[in-house]
Symmetry: C2
Subunit: 200 residues, 2 copies
């Protein structure tokens, strides 16, 4: 009794099930959606994958993803070149851009220190950061790493490394998320919110 789909259908389901965040049921749903969709939409998806793989590279300065290196942010003359915001991943650059609160430059490390996943400081784009800091132009480095164990470890590592340099070193504020409920905040977050309290 056949309990797998015919070759090409199962291949399609498997290809989607390998992507992050898509389970077997979701992959099946997507596969049937594609089988029922216009030929042009399927072509568009296949083209988008191959075009992105062919065109997208990492910016030689900041490590962000881009089609031309240096990336548009590094090349933008209106950005404040005295501040560098250090993030883990390219998608973090977009998250910070969306706040519209930041006009400086970025530096993408490509991850965070994580001994469990075999990510050592030498696997991160730290030498490139040190190179950029040699110019007197940079006055502040904002460490915007994820507020989890790996991010904290990386922040601590960078603080020690950059501490001796003549720079203002800052990090993102910890506290209560806007729109949240004090009752549901965990103790550590609430503790940080207390420590970091500001005058009104």
């Amino acid at each position: 009794m056949a309990v797998a789909y015919d070759g090409a259908i199962q291949d399609l389901i498997d290809a989607f099930a390998r992507l992050p965040g898509i389970g077997p049921k979701g992959a099946q749903r997507i596969a049937f959606y594609i089988l029922g969709a216009d030929e042009s939409q399927a072509q568009e998806l296949a083209d988008a994958v191959m075009t992105a793989k062919a065109k997208v590279r990492f910016c030689e300065i900041c490590g962000n993803v881009c089609e031309v290196s240096p990336c548009p942010i590094c090349q933008d003359p209106r950005r404040d070149r005295s501040i560098i915001c250090v993030v883990e991943e390219p998608k973090d650059v977009m998250s910070i851009e969306r706040t519209r609160e930041y006009r400086g430059l970025y530096h993408v490390l490509g991850g965070a220190i994580n001994p469990m996943a075999d990510v050592a400081p030498s696997d991160l784009r730290i030498p490139g950061l040190l190179e950029r800091l040699k110019s007197d132009e940079v006055k502040e480095v904002i460490m915007a790493l994820d507020p989890n164990i790996e991010g904290e470890a990386t922040t601590t590592y960078l603080s020690r490394l950059l501490g001796p340099l003549d720079l203002k070193l800052t990090r993102l504020a910890s506290g209560l998320p806007v729109g949240s409920d004090l009752e549901y905040a965990d103790e550590i977050t609430l503790g940080r919110a207390l420590t970091g309290r500001s005058e009104v």
Copy 2:
């Protein structure tokens, strides 16, 4: 301030965000996964999409998806040709096959009657079903439609249409899902479980 990604990256995110069950954050996550993956995995995904679109067709007899028509189930001489199980979608065939409780044939309607979505009986593969029932070989039709309003409407419609024929007409049992809690069953399901109770 640019708050969208460079062309090819955004195109890739958009292509995935158009698929069912993938939101903007999920699409972004998948896009960055693909950008970081091997060229070969990206190629595999693009190929799987185009190959499936090119190869997959609908079985001329039962309407299931397949690469050769008639499909392997319709062609299998070991299947019981006296029973036809009517389902809404090709994926329902796979769900029933996985139970390993059914050895008959299938008929995929391609949907269920749904006036809100403009699906009339004439949009379903009902003529093909009637054609198959003309042979004296078929003794039973199992209506295995979804237990929701559209499925019920379609079951009722088919019951009236097939009632006059010399056939056993059956439908899937309604009742409590195995492993569930009586306390959390809705009234209609519990009512059906009572009505359909069996002797032990």
